[in-house]
């Protein structure tokens, strides 16, 4: 059943597939504000593209609305700037209809957690093989500074002059609770770490969600300073590494230990606890992932960064193909004339 589409998309690539990051920079000006955290996402994304090892015509970036929505214009691959909140739905259709593509979504906390919340949770559980990067700046920036579903309680914004009354979403926990197979978090300030996360997301077969704390220096400047500033970050953040104990602190003198189901911080220098008592990260352990997700807003423990969970489950798009293949294998390829005739036809002579 080779179609016209198969023909136009399977022409051999002319030339070698040997790119440099600059090959992914189109000839347009990036129009984010100077100092925007978005630049810190764009650059590692462009840097990992050559490593995908696929022709750039096979890569597509889809976005919704918001500052993150401009992302596709800044990538010299195929790009589609959709409507508010719907990027995951558009990307899912693209990937199901075109399993040969590497499909990426750029979205934000407003786009993805608010108007697009339904598509997000269903994207997580459906496990279409797409990579979703969420710029979380805890504010609506393109509409000039209203509170978002991830703004913290009490936050003063243009639409909450007396402070936000809502509780914020915890995006990592929401993704885990919705069944996402790959969940990770990083910070705009740490481009090297982001690059690692994007590489892992690209390699994961299934729905990948990467939340990036992205500073909006215009409407929510310093939103993440309390745990990302140089002088505090080592004590406020724990970097998750698969198979490694959860050690943190400037002197690597603290660790995370489980007390029942409750994570607690213990000192490694006081003599009561050693590295052997600490939680060891396991990306395949979904119970642990829930505990780590729940640490996000807990002031008593450091905030986890890295890959919370990476589970191997068949992707939706692979499953669709398997159903088709199985049907064709067991019943033979469908004959449309036969389908039209059906089983209850009669002949008029």
């Amino acid at each position: 059943m080779r179609t016209l589409l198969d023909e136009v998309i399977s022409k051999p690539h002319i030339g070698t597939i040997d790119y440099e990051p600059k090959d992914f920079k189109p000839d347009v000006d990036v129009r984010w504000c100077a100092g925007c955290g978005g630049y810190s996402i764009l650059s590692p994304v462009q840097r990992i593209m050559p490593e995908l090892g696929i022709p750039k015509e096979k890569i597509a970036f889809i976005s919704g609305i918001g500052c993150s929505g401009r992302f596709p214009y800044y990538m010299d691959v195929y790009g589609f700037h959709g409507i508010h909140g719907r990027a995951i739905a558009i990307a899912s259709g693209l990937k199901i209809g075109r399993p040969d593509l590497s499909v990426w979504v750029a979205t934000g906390d407003g786009d993805n957690m608010s108007i697009g919340g339904n598509h997000f949770i269903h994207g997580c559980r459906r496990n279409v093989n797409i990579n979703v990067i969420m710029f979380n700046n805890e504010v609506y920036s393109l509409t000039k500074g209203q509170y978002s579903p991830t703004s913290h309680k009490g936050q003063v914004t243009k639409s909450s002059p007396l402070g936000v009354l809502d509780e914020p979403f915890n995006p990592a926990a929401l993704a885990l609770g919705s069944g996402a197979t790959f969940v990770a978090r990083g910070i705009d300030k740490d481009r090297q770490h982001l690059q690692t996360l994007f590489e892992k997301a690209a390699a994961h077969n299934g729905f990948s969600f990467i939340e990036v704390y992205t500073n909006c220096n215009i409407f929510n400047d310093g939103a993440f300073d309390s745990f990302t500033k140089k002088d505090v970050r080592d004590d406020k953040i724990v970097m998750l590494e698969h198979g490694k104990p959860m050690i943190f602190g400037k002197q690597r003198d603290k660790g995370v230990k489980l007390d029942g189901f409750r994570p607690t911080v213990v000192s490694l220098t006081e003599g009561s606890y050693s590295v052997d008592d600490l939680l060891v990260h396991d990306e395949k352990d979904s119970t642990l992932a829930f505990i780590l997700g729940d640490m996000t807003y807990n002031p008593e423990v450091p905030r986890p960064m890295g890959v919370f969970q990476s589970l191997d489950r068949p992707s939706y798009d692979d499953s669709v193909q398997m159903q088709i293949d199985h049907e064709i294998e067991t019943k033979g390829a469908g004959d449309v004339n036969e389908l039209m005739r059906g089983k209850d036809s009669w002949v008029v002579e």
Partner: protein, 615 residues
């Protein structure tokens, strides 16, 4: 006893009972058996929006109506000739529509004290003379089938459920229909359930034998086969026809098909049919909501698939923002709206033609798109292919309007061969040198289609206004004006690519009727009826609503009196007024029920007699 054989030209039969009585199934079997023996049929399932409303209630009545004819049958019949009423409520609901002298077949088991009370009958209508105008067969179906299956070891629960097949057996005798198609169907349906299979076949035969031997049934009715073009036929519903139309359109376009949809009455069947077509290589997504349905279809279209989304009125409302995106990005997309009575949840299982304005205008910004409407169940097949043809040729979303009447009703369809159907020609950009996303075909104004995977044509599109040709984001005032005009002109130019209207009935008539969508059947038969007794009435039927056929204006000019019957408050009439500045009259039915032939005929008579008085 001797039975008389009566010859008829047409007759209308209605199966009515509780929601769980299997009346839809009996009706479908009866219409298939009738159609396969050569008469023309038109069917209308009429059921409540509750799945199993409380047993015996008036609002739980489910019915299936079939009109049979030796001539062309375009409606499901105005009045009932034969009513099968399985309980008191189904009798009460349907009696007002039964012809004087009509036949009633009742199951006395459905007329006990409880049933009478639920139907709000003070006394038993089978005994108190209520039905003296009719020919009534009161049959204790429950006892007969119990007796028939005694000793078979089949569970009482299964036995009880076969009563629809007893009623079916009676009707098969009454109309001398072959039982083989139904027996064949039962064998297929219950091949893994020997008890149910045996029970149904025995009870079906018992029904036939009961009618044959019982004195109540003195006459057997025969209809001559209708004249059909040679060919292979099947009974098809509009929803089924849309599903097949999508598959065939993709095949004729040589593209993969993608359907992104969300279940909604009365459009859900289309999604269900398509979901079973995996061996044809078809992909579908039952999305989390209506918006994801269309958004995923837009994504698939961006990737080069023939993409479609199917819905009903409330769903179309939810999809509208995304339709604007498809218009802006100029991507092909087939949107099927199976209209139902609104606004809001309205009457979910009942038809209306009240989404025309929504389809035409329901978007923000200047956002024109082609709008089509199918005239009958079988026509849904051809109009779906037409929608795909226009979508691919002009790189645009297209809305196809059907409605609950033709979506669920059936009629015989001459099954075409793939080869006799139009070839659709999607045009992918082949030459990267010449590529710019908004370069256009000079004739159709369609933009070039380059999809991910095509080397050297990597580009970005989206909902922001684009610079003509290059597709770069542009806020230039003159460019926006130009792009709005181009998008409009692209749709306007389709007028040269659609068939002109043919005037039906008497073109020299004194009165012109203009119809669209599913009311075709009722209007056509009213016009034919009037003209057969010396009336002079002309009729045009619109399948293309945007753009309107080229010769509509010149047709309209030829008539002083114009009547536009539609199942809304005058939406087409308003569109025609604004386009042609010509006064027109409306016949507007918004009862959640399709037009009857008599509704239209009465209005025609009224208008013609007024004209006589005036002259």
């Amino acid at each position: 006893m001797k039975k008389e054989i009566v010859y008829l030209d047409e007759i209308t039969v209605r199966f009515a009972g509780d929601s769980g009585d299997g009346m839809q199934l009996a009706g479908k079997q009866f219409s298939n058996a009738s159609a396969s023996s050569g008469v023309d049929v038109n069917t209308f399932p009429d059921f409540p929006s509750e799945i199993r409303a409380p047993e015996g209630t008036l609002y739980g009545v489910s019915a299936f109506q079939i009109k049979l004819g030796s001539d062309e049958v375009t409606t499901h019949g105005d009045v009932i000739d034969v009513l099968i009423a399985m309980n008191a409520s189904s009798l009460k609901v349907n009696l007002p529509n039964l012809k004087d002298g009509g036949i009633i077949i009742t199951n006395t088991g459905g007329f006990d004290q409880r049933n009478l009370k639920l139907a709000k009958y003070a006394s038993n209508p089978l005994e108190d003379g209520t039905l003296k105008k009719y020919n009534v067969a009161t049959i204790d179906i429950d006892s007969i089938i119990k007796e028939e299956l005694k000793g078979s070891g089949i569970s009482p629960k299964i036995v009880k459920k076969t009563k629809n097949f007893f009623a079916l057996g009676i009707t098969y005798w009454l109309f001398n229909r072959p039982m083989e198609p139904t027996v064949k169907w039962l064998n297929r349906r219950f091949k893994n359930n020997a008890d149910v299979l045996e029970a149904n076949i025995r009870v079906l035969n018992a029904g036939w034998n009961y009618a044959l031997k019982n004195d109540t049934f003195k006459r057997q009715y025969t209809l001559q086969p209708a004249e059909f073009e040679k060919g292979t036929y099947r009974n098809i519903s509009g929803n089924h026809a849309v599903a097949l139309g999508l598959v065939v359109a993709a095949k004729r376009a040589n593209l993969p098909l993608f359907l992104g949809s969300y279940p909604i009455t009365p459009a859900t069947d289309i999604l269900q049919y398509i979901s079973a077509y995996k061996k044809y290589g078809i992909r579908h997504l039952q999305a989390e909501d209506e918006i994801a349905g269309i958004a995923s279809a837009i994504g698939a279209s961006y990737g080069g698939n023939l993409a479609a989304t199917t819905t009903s009125g409330p769903g179309l409302s939810l999809k509208i923002e995304a339709i604007g995106l498809a218009i802006m990005t100029e991507l092909p997309l087939v949107i099927v709206d199976v209209q139902r009575a609104g606004p809001s949840t309205g009457l979910p299982t009942k038809p209306e033609q009240s989404d025309l304005f929504q389809a035409m205008y329901g978007r923000h910004g200047e956002a024109p798109l082609p709008v089509l409407a199918a005239a009958s169940a079988a026509d849904c097949f051809f109009m779906t292919i037409e929608a795909a043809r226009i979508a691919l040729k002009y790189m645009t979303p297209v809305i196809l309007l059907t409605d609950g009447y033709i979506a669920q009703g059936t009629e015989p369809w001459r099954i075409p061969n793939l080869e006799e159907l139009p070839v659709l020609e999607p045009k992918f950009c082949e030459n990267p040198e010449k590529f710019a996303p908004y370069t256009r075909d000079p004739e159709t104004l369609a933009r070039m289609w380059a999809v991910p995977g095509m080397q050297g044509m990597e580009h970005r599109i989206g909902g922001l206004e684009k610079q003509n040709i290059t597709g770069a984001v542009s806020h230039d005032p003159d460019n926006h004006q130009r792009m709005v005009e181009i998008r409009q002109e692209k749709i306007d130019r389709i007028v040269d690519d659609i068939p002109e209207l043919e005037v039906m009935g008497d073109p020299d008539g004194d009165l012109l009727l203009i119809g669209w969508g599913s009311s075709y059947g009722a209007i056509k038969s009213a016009v034919d009826k009037k003209n057969s007794v010396g009336g002079k009435v002309a009729y045009v039927h619109l399948k293309h609503l945007n753009p309107l056929p080229k010769n509509l204006g010149s047709i309209i000019e030829q008539y002083d009196t114009i009547l536009v019957p539609e199942m809304n408050m005058g939406q087409l009439r308003t569109i025609l007024h604004s386009k042609f500045f010509k006064p027109m009259l409306g016949l507007n039915k918004v009862q959640g029920q399709p037009f009857k032939t008599s509704d239209v005929l009465t209005k025609i008579n009224e208008l013609l007699s007024e004209k006589e008085v005036m002259s």
